[in-house]
Structure formats: structure tokens, C-alpha cells
Amino acid sequence: MALVFTAWWGWSHVFCKPTNIVLVNLREATEADILANNDHPQIKLKTVPMTELRDFKDIDAVFFNAYGLTLDEEQMAALEEAVQRGMVVYSHFSGSTTSKEEDAIYRNLTPEQIDTLSSYFQNQNRENYRNGLRYLRHLATPEAYGDQHYEKPQEMPKMLFYHREYGQYFKNPKELEGYLKEKGLYNEGGPKLALLGGITFPMEGNRPHLDTLISQFTEKGYNVYPLTAVGPMRARFLKMLHPDAIINIPMGVLGNDSLIQSLHEENIPIFAPYPANMTREEWQDKNRALAQGTKTSRIVLSEIDGGIAPYCIAQHYLMDDGSHRWKADVDQCNRFVSYVDHYMGLRQKKNAEKKVAICYFKQPGKDALLASGMEVIPSLYNFLKELAAQGYDVKGLPSSLAAFEQEIHQKGWIPDFHTPGAEQEFMENASPLWIEKSTYEKWAHQVLTPAAYQAVEQRYGQAPGSLLAKDGKLAVACMQYGNVLIFPQPRAVVGEDDYKMVHGVDVPPPHTYLAPYLYMQQKFGADILIHFGTHGSLEFTPGRDAAMRPDDWSYALVGDRPHFYFYTTGNVGEGVIAKRRSHAALVSHLTAPYVESGMRQKYAELLEQIHKAIAQEGKDIQLVLAIKKQITTEGLNRELGLDDKLEVPYTQEELERLDAHLEEICNEHMQGSFYVMGEPYSAQDNQTTTLAIAAEPLAFSLAKADNEAGKISQKEARSYEYVAHHYLNKANQLITASLKAGKAVSPEVEEALAYSRQLGESPRHELDAMLHAMNGGSLAPAPGGDPVLQPNVLPTGRNMYSINPESTPNRMAWERGKELAESTLATHLKQHGSYPKKVAYTFWAGEFISSGGATVAQALWMLGVEPVRDSQGRISELRVVPASELKRPRVNVVVQVSGQLRDIAESRLRLITDAIKMVSELEEPDNAVREGTLEQEKLLTQQGLSAKQARELSVMRIFGPANGGYSTGMLNRVERSQEWNDTQELVADYLNNMGAMYGDEEHWGQFTDGLFQSALSQTEVIIQPRQSNTWGPLSLDHVYEFTGGLSMTVKQVTGKEPAAFMADYRNVNHTRMQDLKEAMAVEVRTTLLNPTFVKERMKGGESTAEAFGELFRNVFGWSVTRQSVLDENLYQDLYDMYIEDAQQLGIQEYLKQVDPAALSSMTASLQECARKGYWKATDSQLKKLAETHASVTPATEAVDADNGKQMVLRKDNVQDGMILSPDVLVGIVAALVVLIALALFIRNKKK
């Protein structure tokens, strides 16, 4: 026995003792390669996560990746001990570690040994991995029995071409072509595809997705050139190859700006599929989001290159050895290859043969066609004419715009299912396309997954369903001109409680929504799909935010054809969602032009008097009183909360506030009638827009020059008011003179002239870009945003991208965010004598992108936390600013986010939650964050959560729509005002719809009853960021939806209406916090109640006119959610201006002619304001409103006057100016029935 035991011990501990090598912090792909290529029976490899590396017992060698390696003190001590006993440590990318790790690494290796190991592992191929491990074994355990043999390292070229066969490398394309010809794999005359597979390549093994792509493209007739090269060598290789297109798979950007520009100039599109770091099962789980790191490195950065088609072509799976290997998703690879083939096929296909499907947007009913800042019908008509000019078949296109418009209104509308008779009218008069049930079902089964279609049937019944169906057929609104199909996007959700569904997660679109897309794919056979204008609902249908699956509607309905999207440059935040969720390539277009508001002329004299009074420090009492009289007459005092006692003069401070307020009104950038695609701004509009872009920066640069010359102080040069008074006019004059002269009158104006030129070129550029893309060409990338703030978005006609969230807040954004946070606190301290306990923020994607994350910076600074950056500027960790340094209490925050922001800045939301966790741990005085956390925990336990759950969730402060949803649901809910009687009902819905938490991975997107409510407790201030001149608190419904909704909810939760501010980032030289009421007043005064604005807008068509309706609906929305922001005279002023036409603008005639639905919406909104008690209207006013309303509202829509969106008016009541709610009417009828029944009963009894 002893002999056997000794033999066994000797065998296992001496002869067969393995060499244990641990791999730490290696990239997944490298790790998998190394593991895959180890063929030595006595080398035992193990992967250990960096954080779990605690014990080096029995380990002979460690293989680190030094990049990003950080070891704590305990780990370092263990490493030191192991190194002293002789353990070998080798590090990839040495020099990336901190000195403490450097000291330990390499101590047991000679420089020659290090070089040899580097030669193995930096020349990555199968043989080198295999021999590198053997060499490492030899160094770590030279005395070990067994095979100690290893080959010398092979030197690999740093740039090479390769193909599927391992070990075959080629120095240039010719060599590869020779090889392909020899193997019979070369497609003569086939398009050339450059395939970039990884940063360092070849990974021999673990590349099935690449091999699949190579095979599939080769089968399709392409010649694939897989290559590896980095930096300048990559650019050289690509230029040498000059491919027809690039398939770019590595993480990160493809190259520098010059490479990207040259690729697009040479018309080389970049396709960007990627493998996802998730298993197949995880990918198929619709609730599982793509990790932020993958999203950034694979999608965001490739968008910056102009990459399109972000298809997920592989997932990984876990091997027994702990490594992850890629597994090609053959269906996804097929789909991607098919997409590229369709795209590249456009180069060969004649325009006359190309089939183009165009989808536009409009509300159900007879409202105008919608697109942000764009006049849709003329734009669409111009585009179609352009297609005709380029040889596309648009047979039958009406010869005039008026005829086209008439046809759209007759055939291209979708009925509102809430309006009685509308569906019938549509089916009888709109000449819809009829699709047989069997055909529809056949298409549905071909395009949709069984599970997806089953969900549709479960919700809406079997096709054709009950909507737009007749005799077993489904009606589809569309028009066809030759090879161009045009259709309105149907409503994505249908039901009695739409407001719940639009925010909701898993509500499939109805048959009516699917039908046109199925027809477009299966029958019409579109080569190209275009969505026309900002924005539709396809990209917001339920599903995950990226790495789309066949179950996702936006993925299925677009299919594998090229998808282009005309999108306003002003809304990049939502644009990127369309790119990711519907694989769209955006073609940006101009916003509406900025026009002269006329306010400076109006208030010039008053401003002059104020300046004089300020200069005299208010000593001329008569002058100040005269100013006060005029201010009070104009109602400006109410906007700033100033008194109206005419005998008490203004103080110097009040005069300065008035000065700043009036200056802002005068300088407010106001947009005129909507932009028509293909038509440059008029000379006047070009000039005013150029002034809006360039005048203020020029004024500041003139002031700076004077400061440098010693003429003015630095403070004056930086003061917005000072510069506006003293330099803005001069800047305006210089630019105007230069534009008139056609050349710069001084060197500083060159830039302004360039902007003017770019504005003029943009319309043509947009059409050319779209036509270029429709020919299989590349679309150049560009940032997006308001051209006034970011002139680099010009010329438009480019593919917009987002920013890298990992670098946010960037350094400038951090400073701006800090400044704004301090400004908020100073204002609160001044107004209330104390710091607020909690501030609620609204985060939107557009503002996040445009400000570089200043919104996040504000929240972090409120908490008293600052970012710590790594060498690349990314925020790697956070530092709590000590109380002594902060010199103020820490302020608690709660954040509500839009769905778009949630999708693009997931890691930043986690960063804020990390900051809250850190600060909540601090036991120090004046820490409102900790107090808030404790309070939240207490409230949660009271609301029925266990102590553990309450503790976990007490740090959750970030909330938003349910995961996969994008809306608060408040717009429809508020506007369907007949369905609620009390704002408490709205608050309950708001808490429900916006209560999904987004703080950490574990609870991401979960909803816990009462949590959002508890997080809102103690809120005293709410803040809405603003980074664009294209919208304001009144003109954009989302502001009342989010900020109004939040204000209303906070008021109910805390019992007190919170202070509300706008964080105004619109002027880089004048970043500030503005009271929401003041911001609203500025917008109302410069737009809705400004005759100049109305006249400008009256130059536009129906889309422009439709905006009046939206403005009035937003007035109603604010009345419901936070009426205190509206001036008390606003309703009366609106009535006078728009119903009585006190300014004699002819507004009603214009609306009746261009867009009666807008007037109907306006009158309905005012009546509803009166009915709900927000406006005390007189009987005669109500009667006049009702008459006007009746005159523009079709009989079929009388019950639901605003096309189903709101109102409870009945035609017969309207005539008498009476307003009765249906509930009251039902009650009266019921009471009558009961009385009659009672009378009959008594009568019978008597008998």
C-alpha cells in the first residue's frame, strides 16, 4: 500500500505536476485565444477577475494585461510575497500600470526573457500563443518534468491581409487576390469589401462571425479583404486597397478625422456590425440591455465615423475553461449581408427601376402633416420633383403643389378611431389600398416572428381586426406614383387608454400599423425606405434600445433594406435612437429660419430710459416712475414679480433686473415659418439667421479685443448685459454690411459669411446627400444641434451622431454645470434664506449631447462630488469633495430622465447613483443627501417594503419611463381632459408612468410602488435644462409633459409647489438659471403675443399653422400642470389677439384657409381652459369661441373637437355656447329615465 501511495504521490506531485498560469485582466478575445491554443497537458490555465485575485498560492506564473490594472494593498502584499518565492509575472502593455505594480512585475525575468515573451504575445497567432505559453512554463517551472520544448517566436507583420485559412498572410491586396484566384474564391468584377476584424489581428480561433461574413459575402459575389492595421498604417492600407465599402468591427473609432473625411469623399460607406458581449439567451431576452461599454465602443464611436447598420452579428458563450468565445449568429449575419447587398446594389440599379417607399407623419384626423420645423407637403413635393429629375419613376405625380396637397388630404390621412364616422369616411372616400386577410397574414408570417404576431393577435384579434376592416380586407392609406410609394405612418397604439399604452412597454402595434410596412416590403418590394421628417413612432415601438432582434418591431418592419431618415439637425437626441433602433442613416436638415422678433424696436425707447436711470443710479425719480408706469402697463412687472405701486420708484437692483429681462426679450431668437426642403432661406431669413448664429460671438470677440487693448475691463468684457449694450449692435452692423457687400468688411466677419454661405448651400446639400445615399453612397457624419449654438452642424445633409458618454461631463461641461449648480443655490438662498434640501432635475438626451453632460455635472456638484479622470479624459471614479472645501451643505437630488437619455447615457445614471451612495455614507452635519436617504428608507418601510428592500432602494433617485418606453404618457392624458376630473388622477398616472428606476444594474428599469413618490419627498426646486433656441417652455409640449408633470407631482407629494428654473445653456457666455415663469414670459411675449411673430408664421403653410394649435394646447397643458407660470392675463390676451383679432392680422382667415384643424384646436383649448376653471371667461367670450369652433370643426368631429385629443363639446350645445360634460349629460338622462320609470310604476299601482 505504501508503495502504491508513494508512486501515486510521486506521479501526481512530481512527474505530472502542472504549471499553473493565471490570466488576469486580459481582453476577452485575447483570453479566449490563449486558452484555445494551449495544447500542453501540463500547463493549467485559469482566468481570474482582477477583483478576485487574492491568493497566489500554487500559482507559478501570472499573465497580466497592465492596461487598466489596479491592485489594492492586500493584493499587492500577496503579489510581493509570491514574487519573492519565485513566481513569474509577465505583463502585456507594460508601462500602463502604476509604479507599485511595475516594481513587482518582471522582478523574476531578465530583459531578454521579457522581450521573448513580448514577441510571442504581441505577434498574435496560433503558434506564438502555443509556444509563448510553453516558454512561460519553462521560465516559471524549469525543473518540471515533461515536455519543455518550445519554438522560437514568429515575427508577424504589423499590417497584413489575411483570409479564412489560418497561417496565410498577405502584404498587399494583389497577393491576397492571387491567393483567392488560386483557391477559386475570387469574384471577377465583384465589389471590394475591406473587413476590419479586430484592433490586433489575426485572432486565430474565436472568429466564427468573421469567417461567416467572409463566406457569405464571397457567396454573394463580393471580394472580401480582411485586414489588420492600426493608426496611420490602417489609413495607408485602406488607401492602398481603395475598397467599395468597409465592414468595420473593431471597438473604437475607425481612424482620425482626416481618414474619415477622405473615406466619405471617396464615397466609401462604413458598415458597423458588432459582436455583443452577451449570450444568445441574454440577447433574446428583450428586457436585457446591451452593456454600456459595448454600446459606447461598438455603436457610439462607430456613429462618429459615420458608420451605419449596427447589426448584432454574434454573441458569446461561456466555455468550461471560463473564457468566452464568439458564436456567429448566422441569421443575423445573413440579414446584415443582405442589407449591405441591398445598399451596394443601389449603385448598379438604374434610378428608374428603384422602388422607393416614403413614410410621413401626421396626427390621426385631418390635422396637418408633422415634422419638427419643416413644412412637410411642399418639402415632400420638392423631394419627389427632385427624384423625377434624377430619373426616378414618379409617374402620376400631380403637376402642381396644390394638386399634390389636395391628394394627400384626400388619400393620405388616417382616421381617428375615437371620432364617430371618421373610419367610415376614410374607407369610402380616401381610396385606400385593400389587402386581403390571407395575403396580409402570409406577409405577417414572413416578416414577423411567430411570437410577435401572436402578441398582435392576442391584443387586437385575428386579422383584419376591427379597425379599417371591411369584408375581410384591411384598408391602408397610401399613394403610389410610379415606383414611389407614399404613406402616412399609422397610429402605433390603439385602444381606450392610449395614454397608458404609449409609455407602456409591451403593447404591440395593431394590424393597421403593420399593414403598410408589410405591403412595402412584400408586395411593393421597396429598395429604399425613407422616413420623412422628425419624427415618427417606429423607432419608439417597444423593444430594446440597441442590438435589435427580429422580435423588435422597428427591426422587423424596416427589413433588410437601406433606411434613410430626414431629421432636423436640432434634435440629435432623438435622432440617434432612430439610428440604433431602426438602423436608419440620418440626413439632417435645416431648422426653421431665425427671424427678427421686432421686440428691440418696440422696447428701444423704454430700454434707453432704463439705461439712463441706471446710469443716474435711480436719482431721477420722475424718470423711474415714468418707467414704472410703462412697465406696469405692459405687464412686465408681473413677469419678474415686481410690485405695481406706481408711486414707489424702482430700486437700482430692480432696474437692472428689468434691463436684463428686456434685453433678453429683445435678443430672443425667434423662428419664423417652417423650412421647406430644397428651398434656401430668403435673403432676409438668411441674414437674420446668420446674425442669430454669429452676432453674439462676434460681439464678445470685439469686447475681448477692446479688453486686450485696455479699453474696457475684463469684467465688462465678460458681462452679457454690457456686451449686449455696447457691442451687439456693432456686431450686427458689421455682419449686415458684409452680407450686403458679399465680402467681409473686417477679418472677424469671415466666419459669419461662411455660415451664411453654408446656410444657403444646405438645402441643395440635403437633397444631394439623400440622392447620393440612394445611389449606395456614403453619408458624411456630423454633430447635431441648434445651428445657433453649434454652427458646425452646417452644412446640413449629414448623418448626425451622439457623444461618447464615458467622457462626460467633459471639462468645459463640468465647469458650466458647477457654475449653474452654485447659481441655483445662490438664488434659492437669496429668495428663501436657506439652501434647498432637494433639487429635482429633468435630463434629456439633446441637452446632454449638446452640453457635453453639463446636466450630469450639475447633479454631481449639488451632491458635493467631483469626477476623477483617467489619462484619456474618461471618468473612472468619483471623489467626495470634503465639506471644508465645499463650504456649503450637500444638496440632495432626484432626476427624471427621458427614455432617450436613459438609452444613451446609462453609465452616467449609474455614476450619479454611485455618488449618492458615497455621500449617503457620510455622517457629517448639513448632509441633506444622507438625510434624504434615511427619510426615503423610512417612507419606503412605511409604504410596505421590507427593511432590506427599503435600504437598497433608499439611494435610488433616478426615474424614467418603463424600460423600452419613451413617454411620460402625460400629453394624451392631459389633453383627453374629459377623462379626468382632478389633477390627483394625473399625478397617480405620472408616478406610475415615470416610476421605473435607473440607478444600478440590479434594479435597472424596475418599478416599485411608492418609490418614486418617496424619492420626490422634500423636493423644493425643479430644474429643466435648455440648450436650444428651437424650442421653449411653451412651444415644446415635452416641457409641460416633463417639468409641468413633475411640478404637479411634487406639489402633491410635498404639499408645496416647488420653485422651477430653466438651466439655460443657450449662450456660452451667459449660462444661467432662469425662473421658469420668466422664461415663459419671454417666450409668450416674443412669440404668441408678438404680432411680428404671427405675421412671420402666417407666411408658412399648414405645418407652420399647425404649430399655433400646439402652442394653445401647451397653454392648456401648463394650466393643468403648473398654472402659476402663466401670466394671469394670458387667456384674455390670447382671446383678444386670436379670436377678436385685435391686431387685425387676419389670423383666423389665414388658419381657416390653410389649416382649420389648428383653429379648431385653439378654440377648443381656450374653451377647455374655461371649462376646467383656469380662465374666468365671460358668457359672450364663450359664445364667440363656440361659434368660431363650430365654424371650423367638421360635424363628424364635433363630439371630439380636437381630433380626439381633447374636449367634450357637442355640436348642439356649441350653438348656445353651453358646455356640458358627457358625465353630466349621462347623469341627467339617467335621472330622467328613473323618474319616468317611477311615474309609470306609480300609475300602474294606482290602477
Binding site: 427619510e935 428608507e937 423610512k938 418601510t941 427593511a947 432590506k948 428592500q949 433608499s954
Partner: protein, 191 residues
């Protein structure tokens, strides 16, 4: 109802302390220490139980009936102990079986206190936000241990005659039983 439950719990605690006065010092300390350990052991479950669940239980007629059965049984056992104690002291002869029953009853501490500790811990954890759960449970157990020892020693000091303590124990248990039944009757009403 909530007040009645609090009174019942206080009576259970008092009864437990009085019962301890019939044990040796070492046994008393051991049992009190076990209560501390019990406080720590139940933490695993109490952190996951919402306070509202307790309210739901107390508002539920059926669960209150079950609790009442336990309460009555417990009261009956303590009352039996009192009777056996008197019999053993004043009767000339007690059977062997009677002696064993007395010994068992004498050593039986009563289980209702443990239910009370459980409930108390759920309430405590939910009302002391921010504190370490473990520390809260430990302090609860420690305070309970001290209170029980104080009750034991205090009752011996104040009522040196065992008969007096026995009488008080009997009355306390009967009162707890009556109040418990009252709770059961009203068990379908929210607390």
C-alpha cells in the same frame, strides 16, 4: 387594537421575567443570553419582512385565531405551573408523574416572548433607517437580555416570597390570555 397588542406584549415580557425568578441565576442568564442569540438569528428573515405584513397578519381573523390558540396554550401551561408549584409546596404527597410534570413546566420558559421579539425586530428595523441591521438586532437582543435579568432580579428583590411572585405570574398570564382572546375577537379589524 394596537394598544392592546402592546399591552399583551408587555405582559408577556413581564410574565417571562417573573417566570425566570423561579430559576437559578445561571439558568436565568443562559435563557436571557439565548434571547440575545435568537434576536441575531432571526435577522436573516426579519429584514425581508415588511412592517405592513405584521399589520396584515394581525388584521387577519384566521391568523389571529392561530395566535390565540398558542396564547391560550401558553397561558394554560404557565397557569398549570402555578398550580403544580402550590400543590408541590402545600400538598403532603405528590406523585412521581406530578413531580416530572412540575419539572417540565418549571423549565418551560414560554414561547410567546420569541414571537414578540420577532415582531419587535421587524418594527425596529423599519424605524431606524440608516443603522446597521446587525447592530440593531444585537442591541435589541442585548437590551432584552438586560431587561429580562432586571425583571428577574427586581421581582426577587421586590417580592422576596415566591408565593407572591407566583400569584402575580398567575394574574399576569390570565390577563394576557383574556387580552389575547379579545384581540382574536377583533382580529378582523385593522390595527
Amino acid at each position: 387594537m394596537k394598544s392592546i397588542m402592546l399591552i399583551v406584549q408587555a405582559l408577556i415580557l413581564l410574565g417571562f421575567g417573573l417566570k425566570m425568578s423561579f430559576w437559578t441565576k445561571r439558568t436565568g442568564v443562559t435563557i436571557a443570553f439565548l434571547c440575545l442569540l435568537f434576536s441575531l438569528c432571526i435577522l436573516h428573515w426579519t429584514v425581508d419582512i415588511p412592517q405592513n405584513r405584521l399589520t396584515d397578519w394581525m388584521g387577519d381573523y384566521h391568523s389571529m385565531q392561530d395566535i390565540a390558540v398558542c396564547l391560550v396554550l401558553d397561558v394554560a401551561l404557565q397557569a398549570a405551573f402555578c398550580v403544580m408549584f402550590v400543590r408541590r409546596k402545600y400538598c403532603a404527597s405528590v406523585s412521581m408523574a406530578g413531580t416530572w410534570v412540575y419539572r417540565i413546566l418549571s423549565g418551560y420558559p414560554g414561547v410567546l416572548l420569541f414571537g414578540s421579539i420577532f415582531m419587535m425586530q421587524v418594527v425596529l428595523l423599519g424605524n431606524i433607517p440608516g443603522q446597521s441591521f446587525w447592530l440593531t438586532a444585537f442591541l435589541q437582543g442585548l437590551i432584552l437580555m438586560l431587561v429580562l435579568l432586571l425583571l428577574r432580579n427586581g421581582s426577587i428583590q421586590l417580592l422576596p416570597h415566591a408565593e407572591n411572585r407566583l400569584e402575580l405570574l398567575f394574574l399576569v398570564e390570565i390577563l394576557a390570555g383574556i387580552l389575547g382572546i379579545l384581540c382574536t375577537v377583533c382580529g378582523n379589524q385593522p390595527l
